[in-house]
């Protein structure tokens, strides 16, 4: 039998050599690939897509429309008129009675409650007050009130709903806590926001505006 200088048979030596090469190859191949399920891949892709769409909407499309949003009391007075065409003032996403509206205004904090702050706008006959939500910010108001983002543009309904969730989360986590830390009754604030009303019920007393921006002026 042929032996090498360390007295190992050549067959064994060859097997050891190929075994080592095989192990190195397996190690290299294993670390060259990242095996993930198709579902998780799609979810990750959708998540990125949703984040990009929500960011682009919140930072670019929405502010442009909000810049021309009506003052709250003027809008409410118009919507309260009998037989008023709400489509001239708001947007609809679905077939039905729900309309979404944007507002922009400056007012004074009247009261601070557990789930909203009440803000008084305008003076004299033009005065009105609105509840600004600070807890229940979950609906489609921010997504749908501008009319700049439609289901057809996004494609899938789950993605469309996820955009609403992202927008609401952003407001709940980035806008509300800072505002609640400083807000006091009597302060003047600037606000932009969105709200929804049901045409069947008209302008009710208890609807809440979902804020997009809240700025304490003094």
């Amino acid at each position: 039998m042929v032996k090498n200088d360390k007295n190992i048979p050549s067959k064994k030596r060859r097997a050891l050599k190929y075994g080592l090469i095989g192990l190195i190859a397996v190690f290299l191949i294993y670390h060259s690939f990242d095996v993930v399920s198709l579902d998780s891949r799609k979810k990750g892709g959708d998540e990125e897509d949703v984040t990009q769409l929500a960011d682009a909407y919140f930072l670019q499309s929405l502010p442009k429309v909000l810049a021309d949003a009506p003052e709250p009391c003027t809008l409410l007075a118009a919507l309260s008129q009998k037989d008023q065409d709400w489509a001239s003032y708001g947007k609809q996403t679905n077939i039905g009675n729900r309309y979404y509206f944007l507002i922009r205004g400056e007012g004074n904090i009247q009261e601070i409650k557990d789930s909203y702050v009440r803000v008084a706008f305008g003076e004299g006959e033009q005065a009105c007050s609105l509840r600004i939500a600070t807890v229940y910010i979950f609906g489609n108001e921010i997504r749908d009130a501008s009319g700049k983002l439609a289901l057809a543009d996004v494609g899938e309904l789950t993605k469309f709903n996820a955009i609403s969730e992202k927008l609401n989360k952003r407001v709940r986590e980035e806008i509300i806590p800072e505002f609640l830390e400083k807000v006091q009754v009597g302060q003047k604030i600037q606000i932009t926001g969105a709200f929804a009303l049901n045409r069947r019920l008209g302008v009710t007393d208890d609807f809440e505006v979902m804020p997009v921006q809240l700025q304490i002026v003094d």
């Binding site: 039905g96 289901l151 709903n161």
Partner: protein, 306 residues
């Protein structure tokens, strides 16, 4: 002789008009649930009012039977199919048969998981409705309490759209705990049995959220039998006749009103547009749903009839 000839010609013309009448097949998941009966009947009435011939096929919640209906509809030369699917995945192949045969399929209420399997899908915005219901639920419980969720059919997208919308809101409130979640297949009797069993293990719950009104009524019945109907709030979804009556008499806490009339009318209107040559339709059309509570129930009729 002349009169006889005129009559014969008139009859012949009538027959010719009849053969030119467009035919619509309305294939419905089940006629055991009054909500679907209303949906199917409204679609038929709307189709007939537009001069079409319409026939209702009951799939009895059976995908195989639904498949037979599709084969018959294709063989009999129907011009359009309005589908209320038995299963979001299982009905895809059935709808495809019609699409491949050149017959448009308009889905009503229950959606298909493949957008290419239907010409257009007209569905309630169940997710958003349950987001709103979730908000009311949290407020009603004072952001604190234990609850049970009764799910509908696990193969139906509506089951999950409703559940997801509800949880999106409720899960943000850590002091609200779900102690049990179980399917009762959208069925009243099953919901009653399921809740009776859950109450043995969890007698101290504060509320029950149900994916439809039939289950809500079954759950409420179980609570009445256990003498807990005044303490435990029940929330449903649909706007069925008995749910609306129950809210009026301080039974159910709330429901979400769907509008099957609008769904059916839109599906028939889309069929009409298709007959006139339109080929492009929105993949999905959403119909609003509305929250019905003791405060506003007086302005609502069952099934959102208008």
């Amino acid at each position: 002789m002349g009169i006889l000839l005129s009559l014969l010609i008139a009859c012949g013309r009538g027959e010719a008009d009849k053969t030119q009448q467009k035919q619509i097949a309305i294939i419905v998941s089940t006629l055991n649930n009054p909500w679907f009966v209303f949906l199917a009947e409204t679609a038929r009435e709307e189709a007939e009012s537009r001069g079409y011939v319409a026939r209702i096929f009951d799939s009895q919640n059976n995908t195989s039977l639904e498949s037979d209906h599709f084969e018959n509809a294709v063989a009999l030369g129907y011009d359009a199919i309005l589908l209320n699917a038995t299963d979001s995945d299982g009905s895809v192949a059935n709808a495809r048969k019609a699409i491949e045969a050149g017959i448009p399929v308009f889905c009503m209420d229950r959606e298909l998981n493949n957008p290419n399997a239907a010409t257009s899908q007209i569905v309630s915005d169940s997710y958003s409705g349950c987001v709103e219901l979730g908000g009311l639920f949290v407020r009603s419980l004072g952001q604190k309490g234990k609850y049970v969720e009764l799910l509908g059919l696990v193969g139906d997208n509506n089951t999950w759209n409703r559940s997801k919308g509800f949880h999106y809101v409720v899960d943000h409130f850590p002091e609200i705990k779900m102690v049990a979640q179980q399917s009762a297949d959208f069925d009243r009797n099953k919901a009653m049995e399921v809740l009776e069993s859950i109450l043995q293990a969890h007698p101290d719950i504060d509320a029950v959220f149900c994916g439809n009104d039939a289950m809500a009524m079954g759950a409420y019945q179980a609570l009445v039998a256990a003498g807990k109907d005044k303490k435990i709030q029940v929330f449903g979804f649909d706007g069925s006749e008995d749910a609306v009556s129950s809210i009026q008499s301080d039974g159910l806490a709330a429901t979400v009103m769907q509008f099957p009339q609008k769904i059916a009318e839109t599906a028939v209107a889309f069929s009409g547009e298709y007959f006139e040559g339109k080929t492009s339709f929105p993949q999905k059309t959403l119909v609003d749903v509305e929250l019905v509570t003791p405060a506003n129930v007086s302005i609502y009729s069952s099934y959102g009839k208008e």
